[in-house]
Amino acid sequence: MSTVNTKLIRYIPLVMYVIFFSIIIYYFFNYFEYVFFYQEKSKLFLTTFFDFKTYLDRPGGLLEYVSDFITSLYYYPRLGALIVAGEIILIVLFSSLTAKRYSGRNCYLIPFVIGGVFFFMHLNHYFLNVNTLGVMLQLALFYSVMNFSSKKTGYIIAILFPLWYYVTGVFSGIFMILFIFDNLIKKEKGYLFRIITIAGVWAIFFFIGSNLLFYKGTSELLYGPFTYVNCGGQEVLFVYTVLLLILLPAISMSLPKSITGFLDKKELALKLAPVIVFGLVIFFSGQRVNRGNIDYFEVEKLFYEGKYAELVKYNYDHQVLNRLSLFLNNIALSQTGQLLNRMFYFPQDKNGGTLFLRWGDDNEIRKRGGYFYYFIGMVNEAHRWAFELMVVKGYMPEQIKMIAKTEIINGHYNSARKYVDMLKNTLFYKDTGKKYEKYLNNEKLINSDPELGRIRRLLPRHDFFVNPEQPIIDLDMILKYEKNINVRALEYQVAYLLIRRKVGAVVSELPLFERAGYKKLPVYVAEAVAPFKFLNIGKWPELKYLKISDDVRKRFYEFNKIQNSKKPNKQQLLFNKFGFTYWYYVFYRK
């Protein structure tokens, strides 16, 4: 029986690793898949040698290259989750093994704490894999190299260290400190010289690199590729975790005998200690579950896939309130012809902020704002938003697609080809690239494409300067000067007027709906203009055939009756019956 127990105890650490891995996977799969979606959409990894060379101009560039490659695999978010979980497990494993090497006894608690913190940091979608991979590689290399360590190899390691610094950047500092620690502990002949060598060789390389090789600022050379942005603003937590990791061997060695003696007697407890960490991980991970993020990124995913009806349904079912979600929702409504029929089923920003995003310095706004212009046919401006983002943030899949599409629509095929080729030189956007390649110089194919052809038909023929701070002016210009009515622009313009409660202006736009070929007035337009018509508030334009339906007329009178009554619960009554009408929006929504 005792033997069986001993065997079981031996397997406990393995079970702990499996449990920890499972917890990570559980949370990633169920609540944080968007982390991988977001990161994959933030970087387009190109497989060309030319692009590879762009990583070589700085220490840590090669680590970034590998990390970017891994990030491209996040195209399948669950694969990404498995990779990151694997990296975290390896950090735990190598830190545990390293601590054991110096202390001679198993060490589980702190390595799992370190792993737990890394997992926690990864739940922030700005925290990039380069940090985890960088740390993991230091531990892996240190553990592997030390297995073959001798005085001779120690010198070789010290001399070659700049190469490792070039490959992994600031993270190599972890290796260097552990190397120094190892030498200080072993105190083998020449250990001081080896320490001086590794530090000195690095300092010389850094000096030469900073002055002759790398066109980078000193702080970038010291800290790159680690940045405040790339760790999601969690730099304090990250630095303390790395410090703990570095000090772990020293801590495990320097425990007083009273504690080590106690630990030796409590082997089972020691091996089960990670359970405490798991509890904390579950608690803190639960705290980080963010419904808003889950919803927003689901909406964005549906948007990129062109699943507009599903997007609207998702927003409606989940009552999403995020402004960017609502912005995409309005585009989806517009694309499915429902903007003026359903927009007040959703909250709307009173300044039009859910209809169009205003140009500014926020890259998250720049990433999405161009889609409004794209779908109303202002292709140049959509191109500009995508291009500006590329200039500042590098290649991103959706932005490169946008650049390619806008160049194709505009007939700039030679320029489009470059971006089409970019897509072709990726792991997962090859097919998109090949699809667009067929469109180059093929007017017939473009014009018959349901998306590109339709947008091409909306292209402005009259030139004017874009007003990126006031998109409503652009809509006015399009509607004023274009020979054919741009239906999408008209709907957006009227949607804006409705939101701003400028009902008189909506009335004066009614003839445009006839010119645009509407068979009947959209619901909210009819509701907005009904008081004008039936209460004779203002001048009614001449219309050939469009009129307010009897249904709207009846409902309006009903609404008006309740609204003018003195019932104490009239708002509730109106909400129950007219909650999604324009009339309710005007009177009760703020």
């Binding site: 002055n211 980078k216 007939g411 292209l459 300067f465």
Partner: protein, 496 residues
């Protein structure tokens, strides 16, 4: 100690395969080929050119379908380079190319292209390049950046050898907190007098002097705008600048992208030795916008572009037409004479910008376009030449359907490099043309690259190409040292 025992039979096999590798890959068509009376389609188009004898190899891709390719480049003396390729990408060995050109001055190089399909070789019609005995300046400097709208991040000012493919940075703004760097300027191809502007928190005008590079702040409280487009006086004692207040707009129609409009501009003179900056008094009534200064090679005239001030209420930017003027200058007293009209482009309903006088003072090349003074975004922009003997103006035969703009002369007057967007309509590339004594030009060709397909995937634009005769070398350390140093403040002078 060998792990594998090599039998005589194995040796024979190894030798056979080695021979197969050596000869199998490089075997040409021999005499078994058919001929085709058509020029092969190659990219870039390097057929029928006049090239300097010191140019880097003109690598190209044969855009004809085939399984194997063979190219022979020979001169009149029979010296030749043979290249076999399976993918049609012809990369000419640099040393052989150099020797061939050196021995072919004043002669023609003949290119014979053979393409193999199945077992049959086809020889295309031969084409040739004339090797001119006039060298081009050994270095080209340009700014590399995205053809972007408002935002910028990575900006590089690059020195490229014209004789090889080597290049290095003069400025890489990664080292200086992504400050913008622009307007690199030499004094007539001589890098002894060199300056660049850096804009941002490390900003200033960096002047290269005998004791190294130094940073200056040329903006004084008397100035409404900063110093922008520079042009060195041939003496090296002065730099003329324009000072521009610029606004940028974005078009909505597909044919146009960006409009850059000057709202105000004037001319400034900087005295390098006295560190003084002053107005160039050519517009005392403040009726005009003056920009793009350019000195005559003798330093006695300053050319510039001028348009009436824009009516900011009406803002009819398309009606702004710049003419070319010049004004006499006395370097000893720093005094300017009366303004003279050189070319009335507005009379033709057009506008001029970027005047550059050839080093011998015989020709002046301008960019000629519909309106305004920022032609890089004007598809219709073309290069025109003014003969400075009789001021006659002619359209150059090097233009394309796309923007042809910023240009630079070689020190010996025989070569000109200009920016052209003829490749994709968006990104500018440096094109090289030979200019003879009478100002006649030859078919322009794009700056050769090691990878002939480079321009098909490179999405950045080559901005402000400038030829120079010698090397400017700024290490990252030097660049940072200058950028982080305190700027030397220029003094305002009324020049009374």
């Amino acid at each position: 100690m060998f792990l594998i025992k090599i039998e005589p039979m194995n040796i024979r096999k190894i030798v056979f395969y080695l021979l197969l590798i050596i000869y199998g890959c490089s075997s040409g068509p021999g005499k078994n080929y058919q001929t085709k009376d058509e020029l092969p389609v190659i990219y870039p188009d390097y057929t029928g050119l006049s090239i300097p004898y010191n140019i880097a190899p003109l690598n190209f891709k044969i855009n004809e379908k085939g399984d194997d390719y063979y190219v022979e480049i020979s001169n009149e003396a029979g010296d030749k380079i043979e290249i076999s390729q399976e993918d049609g990408i012809v990369k000419i060995p640099e040393s052989k190319w150099k020797d061939l050109l050196e021995n072919s001055k004043g002669e023609s190089l003949t290119y014979s292209v053979y393409v193999k399909k199945g077992n049959k070789w086809t020889k295309y019609k031969e084409f040739s390049n004339r090797v001119m005995s006039d060298p081009i300046d050994p270095f080209l400097y340009y700014r590399l950046l995205y053809p972007s709208f408002q935002k910028y991040k990575d900006i590089r000012i690059v020195q490229r050898s014209m004789e090889s493919f080597s290049e290095h940075y003069i400025v890489n703004n990664d080292a200086i907190k992504h400050n913008c760097a622009n307007c690199h300027s030499f004094n007539r191809n001589n890098p002894k007098d060199f300056l660049i502007h850096v804009r941002g928190n490390l900003g200033g005008t960096f002047f290269l002097k005998e004791d190294g590079m130094k940073k200056y702040n040329l903006k004084t409280k008397e100035m409404t705008g900063g110093a922008v487009y520079p042009r060195w006086h041939p003496s090296g004692d002065y730099v003329a600048f324009s000072s521009n207040k610029v606004i940028q707009h974005f078009h909505t129609i597909s044919k146009k992208r960006i409009e850059v409009v000057d709202l105000a501009s004037s001319l400034l003179l900087y005295d390098v030795n006295r560190n003084e900056i002053m107005k160039i008094p050519v517009d005392s009534a403040k009726q005009f916008m003056d920009t793009y200064p350019e000195w005559s090679p003798d330093g006695k005239y300053l050319y510039f572009c001028r348009a009436p001030k824009i009516n900011q209420k009406k803002y009819d930017y398309e009606s702004i037409k710049y003419n070319l003027y010049r004004v006499p200058f006395d370097p000893a007293t720093r005094k300017f004479g009366s303004v003279q009209l050189v070319f009335d482009a507005a009379a033709n309903g057009m506008s001029v910008s970027m005047p550059r006088v050839s080093p011998d003072g015989k020709h002046l090349v301008i960019t000629y376009h519909n309106y305004g003074c920022f032609p890089i975004w004007h598809k219709e922009a073309d290069l025109y030449m003014i003969n400075l003997d009789d001021f006659s103006v002619s359209r150059m035969n090097i233009n394309s359907d796309f923007t042809d703009s910023y240009h630079t002369w070689s020190a010996n007057n025989r070569w000109m490099i200009f920016s052209s967007k003829r490749g994709d309509g968006l990104t500018a590339r440096p094109y090289i043309t030979y200019v003879d004594e009478e100002g006649r030009t030859t078919k322009p060709f794009v700056l050769p690259q090691k990878d002939p397909l480079f321009y098909t995937y490179f999405v950045k634009t080559f901005n402000v190409p400038e030829l120079a005769e010698a090397d400017v070398w700024l290490t990252p350390g030097q660049l940072k040292e200058v950028a982080y140093s305190d700027a030397i403040q220029a003094k305002w002078s009324d020049n009374n």
